[in-house]
Structures are given as structure tokens and as C-alpha cells.
Symmetry: C2
Subunit: 383 residues, 2 copies
Amino acid sequence: MTSTGSQPWARGISLPRRSPSLQCFALQCLWLAVMASLDGDLLYRLSGAESRYAPLSREHRDVKSCQRVLFENVTHTKHLAAGAGVTGPPSLPLVESHYFLDTVGQSYWDRKEVSVLHQVIPNPLTSLAVLEPGRPGSCDNGTDGRTLVRDTATLNDCILATNAGMFNTHTGACLGNVVSNGVLVQDSGGIQNAHFSLTKDGHIFTGYLSQLDLLTEDFTQLVGGVIWLVKDGASYVDHSLGVECPDTQETGSLERFTSVVSARTAIGHDVEGRVHLVEVNGKTDQKGINLYSLAEMLIRMGIVNAINLDGGGSTTTVINGTLVNYPSDQCQNSSYNCERPVTTVMCVHAPHCDPRDCSGHGSCDLGECRCRGFWHGPGCDTL
Amino acid sequence: MTSTGSQPWARGISLPRRSPSLQCFALQCLWLAVMASLDGDLLYRLSGAESRYAPLSREHRDVKSCQRVLFENVTHTKHLAAGAGVTGPPSLPLVESHYFLDTVGQSYWDRKEVSVLHQVIPNPLTSLAVLEPGRPGSCDNGTDGRTLVRDTATLNDCILATNAGMFNTHTGACLGNVVSNGVLVQDSGGIQNAHFSLTKDGHIFTGYLSQLDLLTEDFTQLVGGVIWLVKDGASYVDHSLGVECPDTQETGSLERFTSVVSARTAIGHDVEGRVHLVEVNGKTDQKGINLYSLAEMLIRMGIVNAINLDGGGSTTTVINGTLVNYPSDQCQNSSYNCERPVTTVMCVHAPHCDPRDCSGHGSCDLGECRCRGFWHGPGCDTL
């Protein structure tokens, strides 16, 4: 009933990726050319960044230690999420999906048209999740768990999904802190880069995350990015550049990462506590938006806090199992563009039931169990 | 079984357009902002063009009369379609959908990146159709039958659909000759602009269409555009400009129509007789591609004959019921971009059965009836 995965097309689009001639059957044969993508549109964020991210090799110069002087303890914001405290079925729609064309760049020769996908999620607490690639548990594997966004979306019944956190391009491992549906998937050991999260007490947490925060805040969803774009309604890019503690050989990278035009993914919230997912199409150095312009765009859209997630060739939006943005990675065997397999995704889904399967005695309809036969109770567990 | 329309998401996306709060139900609530689009990105093709198109007011100066001198009788090409004469289930996939980014423009300041959707249809004879907006018969209504591409796609079980023919922007009437699934929907009375069609004897017909052709060629699908882009593997734009008979006050319009950058839709075929649908995102005068560059792009893609269909804000590609391109029309109530309701669409669908409903005694699977119970025969009409 609630399964996007049960739609033949949603499945069919992804299946032929590996063997179109064998796995195509019946109508399930729309073949999006995605064979495998070459990471040809990498943002330059990861030169040396593994040392900042990966728990084992990280030097313990974290953001917090830089910030203490400049920003005292104001290292994150907490904002009440829309729908906090509300019981019963959520307001609809679960996600509003908008397209727009925008002009970025200051000077005539610098000016470019960009195409933007803007998603508004009015009920983030019940319909937004950070997911591991594919099935839960895959970030822990230690091997390359990278998966296409639409495969993860199909497996997890996401109405809409985008790429999310950064990953190690060599090993394919998830990077940064990750909490998925209340489960701490990965503790990066005190990474301080910009994070976006939802807490059990109905707040949206945006900003720098200490190891103490990870222990004391009761996160239900948590994902990390690089560069806190908008803080309290103002651009925070310059500050972020200063405080996200690049060591000497990484400074260049982080500045280039910030100033280069590329495809981008951002997540934030507005004053009403609705979550916004914004993706800008692009290709590193040629097309797209830099993080300064992205922050300005987000502010114009009424977003008060936002962070920058993985971008470049990872930028992917999938609606209804169908890719709807323009990826920039080159496909392995042609000059076409292909989606890049990524690790974590942001997933907009129908509210889950408790228990999710309604004890096997009912179906879940927008978070409420519809019990079969004589079963009753909120979880259909009483006869 | 074979119904895209039976997918809850495909329906859900289009339903809330008119009344999101009332028509949203269960998971069917992804709301693409499409309320109604303002025709703000009109290509200038229609200043006076109604007089060239509409049967009643047309002056009988048609392309044929211009062409006779310059091109004698070579006014169209016929090329054997892929799969002609082949019986049994079609080769899969039914459509390959590719994305790519391309650079167009000659000079540095003229150069722009464009995003392109490229669809390859290997079995055009059995899986490609020209459809009227919404249900069959709607071109005949005489009133505004314009419909969103995805609504037409959902109603007609299209795997993939794009906009197709031009229309009268004042009345919303279909323009040009239209044959849909073997039915002559509209006879424009000798319109000579570039057409694309499939014939009953398995050919792809591209080019200028006389009233005699309409009577003697046995078209199964037929749609008209403006400007024959590629003829026999070479750009035909300059020739088309000369022969598509603009009267004096339209000359400017047709040249501007050809040379302005905008979103574009083209249909053509390659040497193997596979049909290609190509859409370039854009916005008139700001972003996109002119018809000269479009023809060059198509030639690079191996397309040997192609015509230009409706473009600008009409340019729309829908896969699996989901909009996948970036429309350029402004939405009625915001600065977002919205799909424009159009008339005819190009539809890629699973092969139909004969009869389509397998006599009510079976289900259609890739053009072959799977009979229920003791019914048998190709159409499940024998007990």
C-alpha cells in the first residue's frame, strides 16, 4: 500500500542498470543510462579532507577549538520544527516540489542561469529521514556501500530523496556523524563541521556538533556537511570558512570548494520550522553555483538556517523513483551523464507506524494503522 | 498490469494541482507546483502564424508551392523504421533515457552550457504514438483542450511523454495535421510545414506534407512542427527558413524563432530507424539553444532526419508520471516555474494488444494477450 518499491516503474528504472537485456521484463524497461558513473565532477573538498573526517587519522584540531574564541558557545541553533507536538495525521502534501530558474553571478560575464529544485517538507519530524545507502547497516560495512539515490529511495519507500552526507571517495565509506531513524549509525569522534539534524524533542539542530552534543542531544536524524551556509537568516559562509578548521594544506581546498561553481545540495529550515531541500544543477567549474551565491539564494527563499551537503556529481534528486535533476558525472561508456552512487540520502517518506508493520495485522496509512479483521489498538496488536 | 495510471504516485502528482488539500490522500501527496503556468516564455513563432496554420484563414501559399522550383519533388524522406516486419515481443528496453550536458555557442561570450534529455525509442512502430491532449477526441472539441503532458501520459499509460505539436495560444486548439493511432484527428488542409510521422508500411516519414501525401500515405502517427532541422544527415535549417513560406510580415518572426536561444523539442530518427526525442532545457532569450545549434547537436548524435516541434515553455518531458525537465513558464502565483498545458504529446508506451483489452478475457503483456481461464486465441476471443 505505502510502497513506492511496489511500483513496477520505480523498480524497473533501476533494475536494467546492470544488465538491461536480462533484467528488463514486461513494462519495466525504461532504461536511464546510469551504468556506472565516473567521478569526473568531484568537488575538490576531499584533498586531505579524509584526515579531517575519518575517525582513525583525524588530528584533534576540531571546529569547536577554533570557535571558542570567536563565537563562544554559540556553535549551533535549535529551532522548533513544524508540527512539533501535533498528533494525528500530518498536513498534506508531504512535500511540495518546485522548480525555478535563477540568475547567479555579479558581473555580466560572470552571470549564469541555473536551474533549481526546491523541496519543502512541512512535517519534517514524521516524514524526513537520513538513510544509509541501500539497507540499514550499510554504513557499518566498511566496504564500498555506495548506492544510487533511487535504489535507496526504492528500498525505503521514499517519495522523494536526495543525496546527503559526504563520503570517502576511495573506500566509499560514509563520513561524518550519522543518525538514521534514531539509531546512531556512525560516530565520527567529535567532527565539528556543519551538521543538520532533528531531535526527539521536536527541534531542528543546525550547526557545529561537538562530541558532547552527540551524547546530550537526542538526535533522531543527523547528517553532516561542509560549510554552514545560512545562520539566523544571514550568510555564514565567510565565518564557516574561518571556523571549519582547515589545516594549512587544506585551506586552499576549502576555499576553492566554497567559491567554485558546481552542482550543490543544501538543507535548511524556514521560520515556521519547515525543512527545505535545495538542489542546484551544475558541473564543477562550468555551471552551477558557488556557496556564497547559494547562501544568498537560500536567504531569498526565506531559509533561516542551512548547511551545505555533498554536491558536484553527487547532486541527485529522485521523485517517485525517477531521476529529476541533471547529474554531471560522465557515464562509464559514453558521453552521457550518469548518477553517482552515494552513501547517505535524505528521504521524504510517509509517516511510519508504530510498529512499522502494524504487528502484521494491518496496513499503515499516514502513520496510523488500519487493522484487519478483529485486530485493534494503535499497533493492531490486540484481539 | 500495464497501467502507468494505476501507480498511486503518478496519479497523486497530478491530482493535487487543482485542490491540493482536498485531493491529496494517503501517499499521493507529492505536490509539484504547477497550479497554472503563465505563457511567459512563448517563442515568437505564432505572430501571424495562425494564418499559416489554421484551415479557415490560411492563404494558399504553402510550402509545396515554394518548394517546387528549388527542390522539385524531394519534399520528404522515407526511412524504414527499426523493427519493421518483426513480429513477436519487441526488443527491450522500450526507451533508453539519457542525460547530458553540452556546450553551445561559437564565441566565448556566446557559449552556454545546456542540459539535454535524449530518449531513444528502438521500436517506434509499436511503442510510439501521437496523442491528443487528455483523451482521444479532444483536439476536435474546438475549445481549449490543453492539458499537462503528465496528465495525458497518465491517462494513456505512457512510460515517457513529451509535448509535441504547436497549438493556437488564444483558443488552445491543436494546430497542423494530426494522426493518432491510425485516426486522422485533424486535417489542416494542406499545411506544408515540417512533419514527422510513421506509416502503416513501417516507414518513418519526415518533411513537408502535401494534401496529396495526407491522402496517399497511410499514416499511423503524424505530427507537425516548424523547421525541418536535419535532412539526410545535414543541417536543413537554412533551407527550411527559405521554404517554409513565411509571408512578408512573418519573415522576421520565423527567423527570430529559429535563431533565438530557448527550450526546444525535436524528433528524428537514426540510420537504424530508431526514433530519437531530444529536449533541451532553456528560457527564451536567456538559456537554451537555437535551431542551428540544435541541428548540429542532433547530427553529432547520429540523427539523420529531424524536425523541430513545439518548444519554449511547452518543452516538457515526463517519465513515469514525473516531470523530469525544467520548465520555463512562470507559475501563476509565484516565481516558481510551471509546466505549460499543451495539446498533442509524443507518447512512448508498451505495445498495444489487438484488441487492446484482449476481449476482456486477458491481460496485455508487451503486445501479446495472456488469456484468462479457457479463453484463447491471439485476442482471447475463442472458447
